[in-house]
Symmetry: D2
Subunit: 340 residues, 4 copies
């Protein structure tokens, strides 16, 4: 009963079959293959807007490369203090941007707000002594497992643009957000002012496939050079691009996200006393206390302790292939904890 991470799950059949189908004959390398050549068109159809899209193999690469195209080395990127780009990528954005500064801000339920951003800018107004405000980066769904509503994204984008900044979204779990919000992908991206997106597929069933999607196509200039220079221009590119095509074209992206969300939300009902945040995607954060947390571990549930070792907090992630029996067992165990 593994709730550690959606990265612990295997590859979904739709995607594995597409990779196998691609495994025949010669194909030009480094993005000149027929699969990669279709990416722009398929992503443009997906988002209902003309975009440039580039395949990479990790979310960290997608985020760091995307940020490198929206900030100079002397720039500042505003993000939530819990953001993956700030806390969980070992400084990849700093490496790829040439040393730009990520500034973590606080915010309820893992969300940035224009109010907090404005205060940060006022408290440390741009000058020759400080890094230049260059971008806002949010996660959708957030690190707290919540989802920005379209108007929330739009407010942040507006603030970014008013202040000469670009708007980036880390969409490692974008599908889960779209599934929860029940909206068109366009609604929470370009229609809400987003300039560049890290589009995640790996956590939702791909083998290793993410994309950097530019709604502001001018930002995509020389992006392939950035990828190559980072070792992220895959030689046999067909095997990455074919994953992305299958992910979108088969509809599995939405089916899997809907299922995982539904299972997670069904768990939330059994964990009301301990919910740290609303459950709006496939992650559940519980402030169980160390004793109850240990009891779940003892029952054979695998999940990550969260925060400080003695925080008593826990994170459960529901994967695309999580079994209903895992969910049922967890529900029972939580009910038992409640009863005590």
């Amino acid at each position: 009963m593994n709730f550690c991470s959606d990265n612990a799950a295997p590859v979904c059949p739709e995607i594995m079959e597409a990779m196998l189908a691609a495994n025949t004959g010669s194909a030009l390398a480094y993005g000149e293959d027929a699969w990669t050549q279709r990416l722009d068109a398929v992503f443009s159809a997906y988002f209902d807007a003309p975009v440039r899209a580039f395949a990479v193999v990790t979310g960290t690469a997608a985020n760091a490369l995307a940020l490198a195209s929206v900030t100079p080395s002397y720039g500042a990127v505003f993000t939530h203090e819990q953001a993956h780009v700030l806390r969980d990528e070992c400084g990849a954005p700093e490496l790829f941007t040439g040393g730009a500064q990520l500034r973590g801000l606080s915010g309820t339920d893992g969300k940035l707000t224009a109010v907090v951003l404005e205060a940060a800018l006022k408290a440390n107004p741009p000058s020759v002594h400080s890094t230049k405000p260059a971008a806002i980066s949010i996660s959708q769904a957030t690190e707290a497992g919540t989802c920005y509503r379209p108007h929330e994204v739009a407010q942040l984008s507006a603030f970014a643009h008013q202040n000469g900044m670009h708007m980036h979204v880390d969409g490692a779990r974008l599908a889960n957000a779209i599934a929860f919000l029940d909206c068109h992908p366009a609604e929470i991206t370009w229609r809400a002012g987003v300039d560049v997106l890290s589009f995640g597929a790996t956590k939702n069933g791909a083998l290793a496939a993410e994309a950097v999607v530019f709604f502001d196509q001018g930002l995509a200039e020389d992006f392939e050079l950035r990828c190559k220079r980072a070792g992220h221009l895959i030689s046999k590119s067909r095997y990455v691009s074919s994953q992305l095509l299958a992910y979108m074209e088969s509809g599995v992206w939405l089916r899997s996200a809907r299922r995982a969300n539904a299972l997670a939300i069904s768990i939330a009902a059994h964990a009301q006393p301990w919910l740290m945040y609303p459950v709006e995607a496939n992650q559940i954060f519980l402030a169980l206390g160390t004793e109850r947390r240990q009891r779940l571990h003892d029952l054979g549930f695998e999940f990550y302790d969260w925060g400080a070792a003695d925080s008593g907090e826990a994170r459960f992630v529901v994967s695309w292939n999580q079994s209903q029996s895992d969910i049922d067992a967890l529900a029972v165990a939580l009910d038992d904890l409640c009863g005590n």
Copy 2:
């Protein structure tokens, strides 16, 4: 009546005369001159310990180069959220370290504590996903104009070393701290566990002279290459080194710092209602409110508004050559504000 910055002051006579005295005949360039060759010995005598010392021309260079010798590119440097290295150097530490991450922590009166550091480490324990704790950097005097006591520095150093980190001090106003603490320079540096120091002289009367001082001499390996690579190996090095020698050997460092401190502290007595922090060096931070602040501006006092534009806060810095009449005038004006 200029209280804007100690950088607004001119060069003190002792130092200017030393530069003029150095201005005769040929001297080998790039640190091979007789003045630079004496730096290690004179700094070792000053600190009563064998050290390696390297002259540079800005505090930003000293800090960023010092940090580059104590953190790998994938390292984290813990510092106060108000620290100069974090807020006021436009990302120089990020540039020179190759993208290390500065993590700003809160703390009363501009000071870090081991308690706050320990909580930060526990909340975000080292893993492959996060930058590696590599150093602690404090400012002495702090950005709040306060001074760490020797035992406070020692506690931080101990915490650093226990956790595999190095201890750095930004001593842009080190002389003011020593003057206030009335201690030997060794007491707040190597005897308190400091590994590397940015030794400031410019704010206290030099033209452009700072030094990076290594108490842990092993860290100094290849430091000249770091300087050269940063454009900070001055060709006519005698003109920088001679400033530092005169600064220490003439005793002007302590005379000037004592005087500036005394004047600042004398002002504090007239500003009790608005003092944001204890006045322990040559800086005074006042929460005047916007109206009172404006009144002082109208009276011809030059100083920087602090924080957000509407914060009502102000910073006054007393320079080595501040006139007694400036001080008297400010005291009177503050008394008047109090009376209202």
Copy 3:
């Protein structure tokens, strides 16, 4: 009839089956899976020595990350002027090393020699003004399709170590070199003094799998942090590690390399007048002249024109799955060119 690149070939059955076999159930992410946990042991057996091995997905990443562990940012890496790291990686080594300098040197048949290296060091002796000699990097097989003999590698390694440098090998086509030299993998690596190796599998039948192998295990410190920071710590790591395991354990690495080499060498016999270098692996470089080259293009052979557009040079690469009929057709075409 595609001779463009060994990257144009599909994935070989042994490796694809291993990936499919890995695609079941949960597995810890980020290298904690059972496949990745076996890498050190399997690579140690392969090389008959204790090594640390880390899987990545591109040769550029392997090279740049390997070089980052053997040079400081102010270091110099000596390499052949035709080296992939210098010419074909868009500055990836510069990015990952923090700006180290690659110095390209000339050498017959794509090979560096100690004589050329010694002359380079003497002509530009180390000083505070120049980047510090840190490493030698050679390609095995070379960019010219030739192979260093074990004693040639050993001479370079000895020179490196005598001068305080590390020895790196870009083994994008290591299997082809081993097949040609008919030696044990140890002979041209650690027994010849190599410190760190970029071990290639992709060009020889993998999907996207390379490894950085440390013979000097001390150099591997924090290497996972370097990978993560570069976006090269793959989340579903089992799918990369399983490729490498199958590649080595099935023996396909040697079978495929032997076959490709043999086919390439069989072609060489038909191209004697135009051979630019001895054919010792799976690449053939021909100085055909623009007319003959065009004739081959017209006949339907796909290959890359080499060097300047009007050079008349061509590169043919034989892939692991190249058909005998492709080879036969090329032989006939070359014989025809000869006859004219």
Copy 4:
């Protein structure tokens, strides 16, 4: 009798007096002082064109910061294989550009030509695999002590612009070149297509003062942030700017350069058999052979051996304050060598 370097000379009176004159009263820091505020106007008058000019303290900083404003991190800068930026700055351009690649090309008398550049571009045409051609950088005077004629600079600039590159000049000894060419400063800079210039004063009599001069003012955007981030925004900026103002406004720049050139050229007449390059500025390179070279050392002449230790080559640099007696003694000694 020191001919080691023009950096071994002291500061000329005109400049030292200007610094002393600046040393009175308060002045805003970080470039807000009255001296720095005049830089743009005085440089614009000097070059007879509207320019932006920024003061720094080393030539390495000037070059590396200038290059950082004309190349992305994934760019390539073409320069002469003997160029200071490539060989003598310990990788500073790589650091400040974020890892751009300097490509050294050969050329007679220390000069690049469009022919050589064109061949280099053709041999390694731009692609996703190689760094993007971004700039040409030449030294004026060159590292060989020769001077580009205006039409030679113009040809290189035209080639740069035709290929989407910028044109940079390292003018560490620009005054010597202008003195030799007897032209207006505009002739070999913006009228010849130069975009950005490293303007040197230190070697010609300043204490530590160089400038980055932008003829293409659009390139100057955020340049102060680059300086700050590199630790090169001097706090007491008046002391650097006053040097530059005095250097230009007193005319000492041209007087000193003319004198040094004339002395160097007078020496050349006594060294005809060994001249490695035409003497067109204040440097003389002689292929003396190791014996003759040693004889000069034994006679008390201080100068640098050049190239490899056993090259037998020597460099003599004439400083602004070189005595006529030094010159006379050297002439006699060379005549004696000739006679043998």
